[in-house]
Amino acid sequence: MAEVLVYVDHVDGAVRKPTLELLTLARRIGEPVAVALGAGAEATAATLGEHGAVKVLTHDAPEYADYLVVPKVDALQAAYEAVSPAAVLVPSSAEGKEIAARLAVRIGSGIITDAVDLEAGDEGPVATQSVFAASFTTKSRVSKGTPVITVKPNSAPVEAAAAAGAVEALNVSFSEKATGTKVTARTPRESTGRPELTEAAIVVSGGRGVNGAENFAIIEALADSLGAAVGASRAAVDAGWYPHSNQVGQTGKSVSPQLYIASGISGAIQHRAGMQTSKTIVAINKDAEAPIFDLVDYGVVGDLFEVVPQLTEEIKSRKG
Protein backbone atom coordinates (compact mmCIF):
# COMPACT_ATOMS: atom_id res chain seq x y z
CA MET A 1 0.00 0.00 0.00
CA ALA A 2 1.16 3.54 -0.71
CA GLU A 3 2.67 5.44 2.17
CA VAL A 4 1.26 8.72 3.39
CA LEU A 5 3.50 11.16 5.21
CA VAL A 6 1.97 12.75 8.32
CA TYR A 7 3.66 15.74 9.94
CA VAL A 8 3.43 15.47 13.74
CA ASP A 9 2.49 18.42 15.91
CA HIS A 10 3.67 17.69 19.43
CA VAL A 11 4.82 19.49 22.56
CA ASP A 12 7.91 17.80 24.02
CA GLY A 13 6.71 14.40 22.88
CA ALA A 14 3.02 14.85 23.74
CA VAL A 15 1.16 14.45 20.44
CA ARG A 16 -1.57 17.02 19.89
CA LYS A 17 -5.01 15.74 19.00
CA PRO A 18 -5.18 17.12 15.40
CA THR A 19 -2.24 14.86 14.47
CA LEU A 20 -4.17 11.80 15.63
CA GLU A 21 -7.10 12.93 13.49
CA LEU A 22 -4.69 13.16 10.53
CA LEU A 23 -3.72 9.52 11.09
CA THR A 24 -7.39 8.55 10.76
CA LEU A 25 -7.58 10.39 7.43
CA ALA A 26 -4.19 9.10 6.26
CA ARG A 27 -5.38 5.50 6.73
CA ARG A 28 -8.15 6.15 4.22
CA ILE A 29 -5.59 6.75 1.48
CA GLY A 30 -2.61 4.63 2.51
CA GLU A 31 -0.20 3.62 5.25
CA PRO A 32 0.72 6.46 7.62
CA VAL A 33 4.39 7.26 8.11
CA ALA A 34 4.82 9.97 10.73
CA VAL A 35 7.51 12.64 10.86
CA ALA A 36 8.29 13.99 14.34
CA LEU A 37 10.89 16.71 14.85
CA GLY A 38 12.53 18.48 17.77
CA ALA A 39 12.80 17.76 21.48
CA GLY A 40 10.83 14.68 22.50
CA ALA A 41 10.37 13.44 18.91
CA GLU A 42 11.02 9.79 19.79
CA ALA A 43 8.57 9.90 22.69
CA THR A 44 5.72 10.43 20.20
CA ALA A 45 6.15 6.97 18.69
CA ALA A 46 4.04 4.95 21.15
CA THR A 47 0.94 7.13 20.72
CA LEU A 48 1.41 7.40 16.96
CA GLY A 49 1.76 3.62 16.68
CA GLU A 50 -1.46 3.09 18.62
CA HIS A 51 -3.22 5.26 16.04
CA GLY A 52 -1.91 3.60 12.93
CA ALA A 53 1.58 4.95 12.18
CA VAL A 54 3.68 2.14 10.75
CA LYS A 55 6.87 4.15 11.02
CA VAL A 56 7.90 7.26 12.90
CA LEU A 57 10.78 9.18 11.35
CA THR A 58 12.45 11.31 14.00
CA HIS A 59 15.11 13.98 14.17
CA ASP A 60 16.16 16.49 16.78
CA ALA A 61 18.45 19.50 16.43
CA PRO A 62 18.61 22.93 18.08
CA GLU A 63 17.72 24.53 14.73
CA TYR A 64 14.05 23.53 15.11
CA ALA A 65 13.61 25.77 18.13
CA ASP A 66 16.09 28.48 17.23
CA TYR A 67 15.03 29.33 13.67
CA LEU A 68 11.65 29.84 12.04
CA VAL A 69 9.97 27.26 9.80
CA VAL A 70 12.74 26.50 7.26
CA PRO A 71 14.56 23.78 9.28
CA LYS A 72 11.25 21.93 9.52
CA VAL A 73 10.72 22.27 5.77
CA ASP A 74 14.19 20.84 5.17
CA ALA A 75 13.37 17.86 7.40
CA LEU A 76 9.97 17.23 5.85
CA GLN A 77 11.58 17.34 2.43
CA ALA A 78 14.18 14.80 3.58
CA ALA A 79 11.34 12.54 4.76
CA TYR A 80 9.51 13.05 1.47
CA GLU A 81 12.60 11.99 -0.46
CA ALA A 82 13.18 8.99 1.77
CA VAL A 83 9.60 7.71 1.52
CA SER A 84 8.22 8.89 -1.87
CA PRO A 85 4.71 9.06 -0.36
CA ALA A 86 1.37 9.22 -2.14
CA ALA A 87 0.43 12.32 -0.16
CA VAL A 88 1.71 14.60 2.60
CA LEU A 89 -0.68 15.64 5.39
CA VAL A 90 0.06 18.50 7.78
CA PRO A 91 -2.07 19.97 10.60
CA SER A 92 -3.58 23.33 9.59
CA SER A 93 -1.91 25.50 12.18
CA ALA A 94 -0.37 28.79 11.05
CA GLU A 95 3.07 27.16 11.07
CA GLY A 96 1.80 23.91 9.57
CA LYS A 97 0.42 25.74 6.55
CA GLU A 98 3.70 27.59 5.99
CA ILE A 99 5.73 24.38 6.20
CA ALA A 100 3.37 22.59 3.83
CA ALA A 101 3.33 25.42 1.30
CA ARG A 102 7.12 25.68 1.12
CA LEU A 103 7.43 21.92 0.75
CA ALA A 104 4.89 21.98 -2.09
CA VAL A 105 6.95 24.50 -4.07
CA ARG A 106 10.14 22.54 -3.49
CA ILE A 107 8.70 19.25 -4.71
CA GLY A 108 6.71 20.84 -7.55
CA SER A 109 3.32 19.99 -6.10
CA GLY A 110 0.01 21.68 -5.56
CA ILE A 111 -1.30 22.41 -2.09
CA ILE A 112 -4.75 22.40 -0.51
CA THR A 113 -5.09 24.21 2.81
CA ASP A 114 -7.66 23.91 5.60
CA ALA A 115 -9.34 20.71 4.46
CA VAL A 116 -12.20 19.57 6.70
CA ASP A 117 -12.44 16.08 5.23
CA LEU A 118 -10.45 13.77 2.99
CA GLU A 119 -11.33 10.66 1.00
CA ALA A 120 -9.57 8.47 -1.52
CA GLY A 121 -10.46 9.22 -5.16
CA ASP A 122 -9.63 7.74 -8.56
CA GLU A 123 -7.22 10.56 -9.31
CA GLY A 124 -5.83 10.95 -5.81
CA PRO A 125 -7.23 12.15 -2.49
CA VAL A 126 -10.23 14.48 -2.62
CA ALA A 127 -10.30 17.22 0.01
CA THR A 128 -13.40 18.97 1.28
CA GLN A 129 -13.01 22.65 2.18
CA SER A 130 -15.39 25.08 3.74
CA VAL A 131 -15.09 28.51 2.06
CA PHE A 132 -16.54 32.03 2.01
CA ALA A 133 -17.07 32.06 5.76
CA ALA A 134 -18.35 28.48 5.58
CA SER A 135 -21.22 29.38 3.26
CA PHE A 136 -19.88 27.02 0.56
CA THR A 137 -18.38 23.54 0.60
CA THR A 138 -15.92 22.61 -2.14
CA LYS A 139 -14.25 19.39 -3.19
CA SER A 140 -10.78 19.67 -4.68
CA ARG A 141 -7.74 17.66 -5.48
CA VAL A 142 -4.14 18.35 -6.24
CA SER A 143 -3.63 17.94 -9.98
CA LYS A 144 0.16 18.29 -10.19
CA GLY A 145 2.76 16.44 -8.16
CA THR A 146 2.29 14.70 -4.82
CA PRO A 147 -0.74 16.11 -2.98
CA VAL A 148 0.22 18.29 -0.01
CA ILE A 149 -2.84 18.88 2.15
CA THR A 150 -3.30 20.69 5.46
CA VAL A 151 -6.25 19.61 7.59
CA LYS A 152 -8.13 21.60 10.22
CA PRO A 153 -8.59 20.33 13.78
CA ASN A 154 -11.82 18.40 14.51
CA SER A 155 -12.09 17.17 10.90
CA ALA A 156 -12.04 13.46 11.73
CA PRO A 157 -12.49 11.22 14.76
CA VAL A 158 -9.45 9.94 16.62
CA GLU A 159 -9.39 6.16 16.10
CA ALA A 160 -7.24 3.50 17.68
CA ALA A 161 -5.52 1.28 15.08
CA ALA A 162 -2.52 -0.64 16.30
CA ALA A 163 0.56 -0.47 14.06
CA ALA A 164 4.28 -0.89 14.57
CA GLY A 165 5.16 2.75 15.13
CA ALA A 166 8.77 1.79 14.52
CA VAL A 167 11.16 4.64 15.22
CA GLU A 168 13.67 5.38 12.45
CA ALA A 169 16.20 8.18 12.57
CA LEU A 170 15.73 10.66 9.74
CA ASN A 171 18.82 12.04 8.04
CA VAL A 172 18.53 15.78 7.69
CA SER A 173 21.08 18.22 6.34
CA PHE A 174 19.90 21.77 6.75
CA SER A 175 19.90 24.11 3.78
CA GLU A 176 21.82 27.36 3.78
CA LYS A 177 18.51 29.20 4.27
CA ALA A 178 17.61 27.26 7.41
CA THR A 179 19.14 29.84 9.73
CA GLY A 180 17.70 32.90 7.99
CA THR A 181 15.15 33.88 10.62
CA LYS A 182 16.35 33.69 14.19
CA VAL A 183 14.02 33.25 17.16
CA THR A 184 15.69 35.58 19.66
CA ALA A 185 13.20 35.07 22.50
CA ARG A 186 10.23 32.88 23.25
CA THR A 187 7.56 33.39 25.91
CA PRO A 188 5.38 30.31 26.27
CA ARG A 189 1.70 31.00 26.67
CA GLU A 190 0.51 30.36 30.20
CA SER A 191 -1.76 27.37 30.48
CA THR A 192 -5.25 28.13 31.76
CA GLY A 193 -5.98 24.48 32.46
CA ARG A 194 -8.89 24.67 30.01
CA PRO A 195 -8.99 22.66 26.75
CA GLU A 196 -7.21 24.04 23.69
CA LEU A 197 -9.65 26.26 21.77
CA THR A 198 -9.35 24.57 18.37
CA GLU A 199 -9.48 21.07 19.85
CA ALA A 200 -12.27 21.51 22.40
CA ALA A 201 -15.58 19.65 22.13
CA ILE A 202 -17.39 22.66 23.60
CA VAL A 203 -16.53 26.35 23.17
CA VAL A 204 -18.15 29.13 25.20
CA SER A 205 -17.54 32.60 23.71
CA GLY A 206 -18.19 36.14 24.85
CA GLY A 207 -18.41 39.34 22.81
CA ARG A 208 -18.90 43.04 23.23
CA GLY A 209 -22.04 42.35 25.24
CA VAL A 210 -19.88 40.99 28.08
CA ASN A 211 -18.91 44.59 28.64
CA GLY A 212 -15.61 44.42 30.53
CA ALA A 213 -12.64 42.16 31.27
CA GLU A 214 -13.88 41.41 34.80
CA ASN A 215 -17.23 40.18 33.46
CA PHE A 216 -15.51 37.44 31.47
CA ALA A 217 -15.55 35.54 34.78
CA ILE A 218 -19.21 34.78 33.98
CA ILE A 219 -18.22 33.26 30.63
CA GLU A 220 -15.36 31.32 32.22
CA ALA A 221 -17.65 29.93 34.93
CA LEU A 222 -20.05 28.61 32.29
CA ALA A 223 -17.13 27.16 30.34
CA ASP A 224 -15.79 25.42 33.44
CA SER A 225 -19.18 23.93 34.27
CA LEU A 226 -19.10 22.23 30.85
CA GLY A 227 -15.35 21.53 30.65
CA ALA A 228 -15.23 23.89 27.69
CA ALA A 229 -12.69 26.23 26.11
CA VAL A 230 -13.28 30.00 26.21
CA GLY A 231 -13.49 32.07 23.03
CA ALA A 232 -14.01 35.77 22.34
CA SER A 233 -15.14 37.98 19.48
CA ARG A 234 -12.73 40.46 17.98
CA ALA A 235 -14.67 43.31 19.59
CA ALA A 236 -13.97 41.80 23.03
CA VAL A 237 -10.31 41.19 22.13
CA ASP A 238 -9.80 44.68 20.68
CA ALA A 239 -11.30 46.14 23.85
CA GLY A 240 -8.58 44.32 25.78
CA TRP A 241 -11.00 42.13 27.73
CA TYR A 242 -9.61 38.80 26.58
CA PRO A 243 -6.34 37.64 24.90
CA HIS A 244 -6.08 37.54 21.14
CA SER A 245 -5.11 33.86 21.32
CA ASN A 246 -8.75 33.19 22.24
CA GLN A 247 -10.26 35.13 19.34
CA VAL A 248 -12.66 33.13 17.18
CA GLY A 249 -13.14 34.15 13.58
CA GLN A 250 -11.46 34.97 10.31
CA THR A 251 -8.38 36.49 11.89
CA GLY A 252 -8.50 34.39 15.02
CA LYS A 253 -9.02 30.68 15.52
CA SER A 254 -11.38 28.64 13.45
CA VAL A 255 -13.32 26.22 15.65
CA SER A 256 -15.60 23.34 14.84
CA PRO A 257 -16.76 21.93 18.19
CA GLN A 258 -19.77 19.78 19.01
CA LEU A 259 -21.30 22.76 20.83
CA TYR A 260 -20.66 26.50 20.46
CA ILE A 261 -22.28 28.93 22.90
CA ALA A 262 -22.12 32.63 21.91
CA SER A 263 -23.00 35.25 24.51
CA GLY A 264 -23.23 38.93 23.64
CA ILE A 265 -21.96 38.30 20.11
CA SER A 266 -23.85 39.74 17.13
CA GLY A 267 -22.61 37.20 14.57
CA ALA A 268 -20.72 39.32 12.02
CA ILE A 269 -19.57 37.47 8.90
CA GLN A 270 -15.95 37.48 10.09
CA HIS A 271 -16.98 35.85 13.37
CA ARG A 272 -19.16 33.30 11.60
CA ALA A 273 -16.19 32.39 9.41
CA GLY A 274 -14.56 30.86 12.46
CA MET A 275 -17.49 29.00 14.05
CA GLN A 276 -20.18 28.30 11.46
CA THR A 277 -19.19 24.65 11.06
CA SER A 278 -19.85 23.92 14.76
CA LYS A 279 -22.32 21.04 15.13
CA THR A 280 -24.74 22.66 17.58
CA ILE A 281 -24.89 26.44 17.98
CA VAL A 282 -26.49 28.26 20.89
CA ALA A 283 -26.70 32.03 21.42
CA ILE A 284 -27.70 34.41 24.15
CA ASN A 285 -28.26 37.96 22.97
CA LYS A 286 -30.59 40.70 24.09
CA ASP A 287 -31.27 41.81 20.52
CA ALA A 288 -33.78 39.48 18.83
CA GLU A 289 -32.60 40.81 15.45
CA ALA A 290 -28.93 39.84 15.93
CA PRO A 291 -27.70 37.82 12.89
CA ILE A 292 -26.28 35.12 15.19
CA PHE A 293 -29.87 33.90 15.67
CA ASP A 294 -29.93 32.85 11.97
CA LEU A 295 -27.40 30.15 12.84
CA VAL A 296 -28.64 28.81 16.13
CA ASP A 297 -30.20 25.54 17.11
CA TYR A 298 -31.34 27.20 20.30
CA GLY A 299 -31.35 30.91 21.09
CA VAL A 300 -32.31 32.90 24.15
CA VAL A 301 -33.27 36.53 23.65
CA GLY A 302 -32.27 38.04 26.95
CA ASP A 303 -29.66 39.70 29.12
CA LEU A 304 -26.58 37.51 29.35
CA PHE A 305 -25.98 38.73 32.91
CA GLU A 306 -29.26 37.03 33.90
CA VAL A 307 -29.24 34.03 31.56
CA VAL A 308 -25.62 32.86 31.74
CA PRO A 309 -25.31 32.61 35.56
CA GLN A 310 -28.67 30.84 35.74
CA LEU A 311 -27.52 28.40 33.06
CA THR A 312 -24.25 27.76 34.91
CA GLU A 313 -26.08 27.11 38.20
CA GLU A 314 -28.53 24.78 36.49
CA ILE A 315 -25.71 22.81 34.81
CA LYS A 316 -23.88 22.49 38.12
CA SER A 317 -26.95 21.28 39.96
CA ARG A 318 -27.82 18.78 37.20
CA LYS A 319 -24.28 17.46 37.23
CA GLY A 320 -24.55 17.26 41.01
Binding site: V69, R102, R106, G110, K139, T181, I269, V300, L311
Partner: protein, 262 residues
Protein backbone atom coordinates in the same frame (compact mmCIF):
# COMPACT_ATOMS: atom_id res chain seq x y z
CA UNK B 1 20.92 54.39 2.10
CA UNK B 2 17.73 53.54 0.40
CA UNK B 3 15.08 51.00 1.29
CA UNK B 4 12.78 49.60 -1.36
CA UNK B 5 9.57 48.13 0.04
CA UNK B 6 7.12 46.15 -2.06
CA UNK B 7 3.68 45.65 -0.48
CA UNK B 8 1.58 42.85 -1.98
CA UNK B 9 -2.11 43.71 -1.95
CA UNK B 10 -5.06 41.68 -3.17
CA UNK B 11 -8.32 42.86 -4.67
CA UNK B 12 -11.09 40.68 -3.19
CA UNK B 13 -14.87 40.38 -3.30
CA UNK B 14 -16.49 42.15 -0.35
CA UNK B 15 -16.89 39.61 2.47
CA UNK B 16 -20.19 41.17 3.52
CA UNK B 17 -21.58 40.68 -0.02
CA UNK B 18 -23.18 37.54 -1.38
CA UNK B 19 -20.05 35.72 -2.54
CA UNK B 20 -20.27 32.70 -4.78
CA UNK B 21 -18.64 30.72 -7.57
CA UNK B 22 -18.72 31.22 -11.33
CA UNK B 23 -19.54 28.33 -13.69
CA UNK B 24 -15.88 27.39 -14.03
CA UNK B 25 -15.67 27.15 -10.20
CA UNK B 26 -13.46 30.19 -9.85
CA UNK B 27 -14.46 33.00 -7.50
CA UNK B 28 -17.24 35.02 -9.10
CA UNK B 29 -16.02 38.60 -9.30
CA UNK B 30 -18.90 40.06 -11.30
CA UNK B 31 -21.77 40.11 -8.86
CA UNK B 32 -20.06 41.33 -5.71
CA UNK B 33 -18.19 44.61 -5.26
CA UNK B 34 -14.46 44.27 -4.94
CA UNK B 35 -12.09 46.12 -2.67
CA UNK B 36 -8.58 46.17 -1.25
CA UNK B 37 -8.48 43.22 1.17
CA UNK B 38 -8.85 44.72 4.65
CA UNK B 39 -6.03 42.53 5.88
CA UNK B 40 -3.69 44.07 3.30
CA UNK B 41 -4.47 47.56 4.61
CA UNK B 42 -2.48 46.51 7.68
CA UNK B 43 0.46 45.67 5.40
CA UNK B 44 0.30 49.08 3.72
CA UNK B 45 0.06 50.73 7.15
CA UNK B 46 3.14 48.96 8.50
CA UNK B 47 5.12 49.82 5.36
CA UNK B 48 4.18 53.47 5.84
CA UNK B 49 5.20 53.35 9.49
CA UNK B 50 8.54 51.72 8.64
CA UNK B 51 9.08 54.53 6.17
CA UNK B 52 8.10 57.23 8.67
CA UNK B 53 10.44 55.81 11.32
CA UNK B 54 13.37 55.47 8.95
CA UNK B 55 16.26 57.83 8.19
CA UNK B 56 16.69 56.06 4.88
CA UNK B 57 15.26 57.06 1.62
CA UNK B 58 12.22 54.75 1.48
CA UNK B 59 10.21 53.96 -1.60
CA UNK B 60 6.97 51.99 -1.24
CA UNK B 61 5.61 50.12 -4.26
CA UNK B 62 2.25 48.37 -4.03
CA UNK B 63 1.84 45.29 -6.19
CA UNK B 64 -1.25 43.37 -7.16
CA UNK B 65 -1.98 40.42 -9.42
CA UNK B 66 -5.58 40.60 -10.50
CA UNK B 67 -8.19 41.66 -13.04
CA UNK B 68 -8.71 45.14 -14.49
CA UNK B 69 -10.74 46.32 -11.47
CA UNK B 70 -7.88 45.45 -9.13
CA UNK B 71 -6.58 48.94 -9.95
CA UNK B 72 -9.07 50.14 -7.31
CA UNK B 73 -7.08 48.31 -4.66
CA UNK B 74 -3.87 49.95 -5.89
CA UNK B 75 -5.49 53.41 -5.85
CA UNK B 76 -6.62 52.91 -2.28
CA UNK B 77 -3.10 51.90 -1.21
CA UNK B 78 -1.63 54.89 -3.10
CA UNK B 79 -4.09 57.23 -1.41
CA UNK B 80 -2.98 55.87 1.98
CA UNK B 81 0.53 57.02 1.04
CA UNK B 82 2.38 54.43 -1.07
CA UNK B 83 4.58 55.94 -3.79
CA UNK B 84 3.88 53.87 -6.87
CA UNK B 85 2.03 50.80 -8.06
CA UNK B 86 2.42 47.78 -10.27
CA UNK B 87 -0.55 45.91 -11.70
CA UNK B 88 0.07 42.46 -13.14
CA UNK B 89 -2.81 41.70 -15.41
CA UNK B 90 -3.22 39.11 -18.13
CA UNK B 91 -6.23 37.19 -19.44
CA UNK B 92 -4.26 33.98 -19.00
CA UNK B 93 -4.13 34.56 -15.23
CA UNK B 94 -7.82 33.76 -14.73
CA UNK B 95 -8.14 30.86 -12.30
CA UNK B 96 -4.54 30.88 -11.01
CA UNK B 97 -4.12 29.11 -7.63
CA UNK B 98 -1.78 30.01 -4.73
CA UNK B 99 1.24 28.24 -6.17
CA UNK B 100 0.79 30.08 -9.48
CA UNK B 101 0.03 33.41 -7.80
CA UNK B 102 3.19 33.14 -5.74
CA UNK B 103 5.18 32.49 -8.92
CA UNK B 104 3.80 35.61 -10.60
CA UNK B 105 4.26 37.77 -7.50
CA UNK B 106 7.84 36.54 -6.99
CA UNK B 107 8.81 37.34 -10.59
CA UNK B 108 7.21 40.76 -10.35
CA UNK B 109 8.94 41.50 -7.02
CA UNK B 110 12.29 40.54 -8.53
CA UNK B 111 11.68 42.69 -11.57
CA UNK B 112 10.63 45.64 -9.43
CA UNK B 113 13.66 45.31 -7.15
CA UNK B 114 13.22 45.11 -3.34
CA UNK B 115 14.81 45.07 0.07
CA UNK B 116 11.65 44.22 1.96
CA UNK B 117 8.35 42.63 0.96
CA UNK B 118 5.35 43.28 3.22
CA UNK B 119 2.24 41.11 2.86
CA UNK B 120 -1.03 40.70 4.70
CA UNK B 121 -1.63 37.67 6.95
CA UNK B 122 -4.19 36.10 4.57
CA UNK B 123 -6.48 37.11 1.76
CA UNK B 124 -10.08 37.55 2.87
CA UNK B 125 -11.41 35.43 0.00
CA UNK B 126 -8.96 32.54 -0.29
CA UNK B 127 -7.78 32.74 3.34
CA UNK B 128 -4.92 30.32 2.74
CA UNK B 129 -2.36 32.53 4.46
CA UNK B 130 0.51 30.87 2.63
CA UNK B 131 1.55 33.34 -0.07
CA UNK B 132 4.12 35.16 2.13
CA UNK B 133 5.88 31.87 3.02
CA UNK B 134 5.77 30.89 -0.66
CA UNK B 135 7.33 34.22 -1.65
CA UNK B 136 10.17 33.72 0.84
CA UNK B 137 10.75 30.22 -0.53
CA UNK B 138 10.77 31.40 -4.15
CA UNK B 139 12.86 34.52 -3.53
CA UNK B 140 15.29 32.60 -1.32
CA UNK B 141 15.13 35.17 1.49
CA UNK B 142 14.12 34.91 5.19
CA UNK B 143 10.42 34.79 6.06
CA UNK B 144 9.40 36.80 9.10
CA UNK B 145 5.68 36.20 9.06
CA UNK B 146 2.49 36.77 11.06
CA UNK B 147 3.91 39.68 13.00
CA UNK B 148 1.86 41.76 15.39
CA UNK B 149 4.80 44.18 15.71
CA UNK B 150 7.49 44.99 13.17
CA UNK B 151 10.47 47.33 12.87
CA UNK B 152 13.41 47.79 10.53
CA UNK B 153 16.77 49.16 11.58
CA UNK B 154 20.22 49.01 9.97
CA UNK B 155 19.27 46.36 7.46
CA UNK B 156 17.66 44.09 10.06
CA UNK B 157 13.95 43.37 10.43
CA UNK B 158 12.59 42.44 13.84
CA UNK B 159 9.13 41.47 14.92
CA UNK B 160 6.87 39.63 17.32
CA UNK B 161 4.94 36.54 16.25
CA UNK B 162 2.14 35.47 18.60
CA UNK B 163 1.80 31.79 17.92
CA UNK B 164 -0.44 29.05 19.28
CA UNK B 165 1.84 28.01 22.09
CA UNK B 166 4.24 30.93 22.48
CA UNK B 167 5.02 34.48 21.59
CA UNK B 168 8.30 34.74 19.68
CA UNK B 169 10.70 37.56 18.92
CA UNK B 170 12.13 37.14 15.43
CA UNK B 171 15.04 38.69 13.60
CA UNK B 172 16.39 38.49 10.05
CA UNK B 173 18.65 40.44 7.72
CA UNK B 174 17.25 42.17 4.66
CA UNK B 175 16.21 41.35 2.04
CA UNK B 176 13.27 39.55 3.64
CA UNK B 177 9.54 38.86 3.37
CA UNK B 178 7.32 39.85 6.27
CA UNK B 179 3.60 39.49 6.81
CA UNK B 180 1.63 41.40 9.43
CA UNK B 181 -1.55 40.51 11.28
CA UNK B 182 -4.57 42.63 12.12
CA UNK B 183 -3.06 43.03 15.60
CA UNK B 184 -0.29 45.24 14.16
CA UNK B 185 -2.30 48.44 14.49
CA UNK B 186 -5.26 50.12 12.81
CA UNK B 187 -4.70 51.18 9.21
CA UNK B 188 -5.05 54.88 8.47
CA UNK B 189 -7.85 56.34 6.37
CA UNK B 190 -6.77 58.07 3.17
CA UNK B 191 -6.91 61.86 3.60
CA UNK B 192 -8.49 64.10 0.97
CA UNK B 193 -4.98 65.24 0.06
CA UNK B 194 -3.88 61.61 -0.20
CA UNK B 195 -6.74 60.77 -2.51
CA UNK B 196 -5.93 63.71 -4.79
CA UNK B 197 -2.19 62.91 -4.79
CA UNK B 198 -2.88 59.23 -5.62
CA UNK B 199 -4.39 60.25 -8.95
CA UNK B 200 -1.00 61.49 -10.11
CA UNK B 201 1.07 58.56 -8.86
CA UNK B 202 2.42 56.11 -11.46
CA UNK B 203 0.70 52.75 -12.00
CA UNK B 204 2.65 50.38 -14.23
CA UNK B 205 0.97 47.47 -15.98
CA UNK B 206 2.82 44.24 -16.62
CA UNK B 207 1.66 41.08 -18.34
CA UNK B 208 3.00 37.54 -18.32
CA UNK B 209 5.40 38.28 -21.17
CA UNK B 210 6.97 41.12 -19.18
CA UNK B 211 7.62 38.57 -16.41
CA UNK B 212 8.79 35.81 -18.76
CA UNK B 213 6.12 33.43 -17.53
CA UNK B 214 4.53 30.96 -19.93
CA UNK B 215 0.74 30.94 -20.06
CA UNK B 216 0.59 27.22 -19.23
CA UNK B 217 2.37 27.80 -15.89
CA UNK B 218 -0.63 29.74 -14.57
CA UNK B 219 -4.38 30.12 -15.00
CA UNK B 220 -7.08 27.56 -14.53
CA UNK B 221 -5.42 25.06 -16.87
CA UNK B 222 -2.00 25.45 -15.34
CA UNK B 223 -3.25 25.29 -11.76
CA UNK B 224 -1.68 22.76 -9.39
CA UNK B 225 -5.07 22.09 -7.83
CA UNK B 226 -8.50 21.46 -9.27
CA UNK B 227 -11.83 22.37 -7.71
CA UNK B 228 -14.21 19.61 -8.74
CA UNK B 229 -17.39 20.75 -7.03
CA UNK B 230 -18.73 23.66 -5.04
CA UNK B 231 -22.04 23.58 -3.24
CA UNK B 232 -23.79 26.15 -1.14
CA UNK B 233 -23.97 24.94 2.42
CA UNK B 234 -27.56 24.06 3.20
CA UNK B 235 -29.10 26.76 5.38
CA UNK B 236 -29.19 25.65 8.98
CA UNK B 237 -32.64 24.51 9.95
CA UNK B 238 -34.38 27.23 11.92
CA UNK B 239 -33.70 26.75 15.60
CA UNK B 240 -35.85 27.34 18.63
CA UNK B 241 -35.72 30.88 19.92
CA UNK B 242 -37.14 31.77 23.30
CA UNK B 243 -37.46 35.08 25.07
CA UNK B 244 -36.04 35.13 28.57
CA UNK B 245 -38.81 35.72 31.07
CA UNK B 246 -36.83 34.70 34.09
CA UNK B 247 -36.30 31.06 33.14
CA UNK B 248 -34.14 31.46 30.00
CA UNK B 249 -31.05 29.90 31.57
CA UNK B 250 -33.00 26.90 32.82
CA UNK B 251 -34.72 26.42 29.45
CA UNK B 252 -31.33 26.48 27.76
CA UNK B 253 -30.01 23.90 30.25
CA UNK B 254 -33.00 21.69 29.41
CA UNK B 255 -32.13 21.95 25.70
CA UNK B 256 -28.47 21.10 26.38
CA UNK B 257 -29.47 18.15 28.55
CA UNK B 258 -31.74 16.92 25.74
CA UNK B 259 -28.74 17.05 23.39
CA UNK B 260 -26.66 15.10 25.96
CA UNK B 261 -24.23 17.96 26.58
CA UNK B 262 -24.96 17.84 30.30
Amino acid sequence: MSLRIVVTVKYVPDATGDRHFADDLTVDRDDVDGLLSELDEYAVEQALQISENSDDDVEITVLTVGPEDAKDALRKALSMGADKAIHVEDDDLHGTDVIGTSLVLAKAIEKAGYDLVVSGMASTDGTAGVVPALLAERLGVPQVTLLSEVSVEDGVVRGRRDGDTASEQLEASLPAVVSVTDQSGEARYPSFKGIMAAKKKPVESWDLEDLEIEADEVGLEGAWTKVEAAAERPARTAGTIVKDEGEGGKQLAEFLAGQKFI
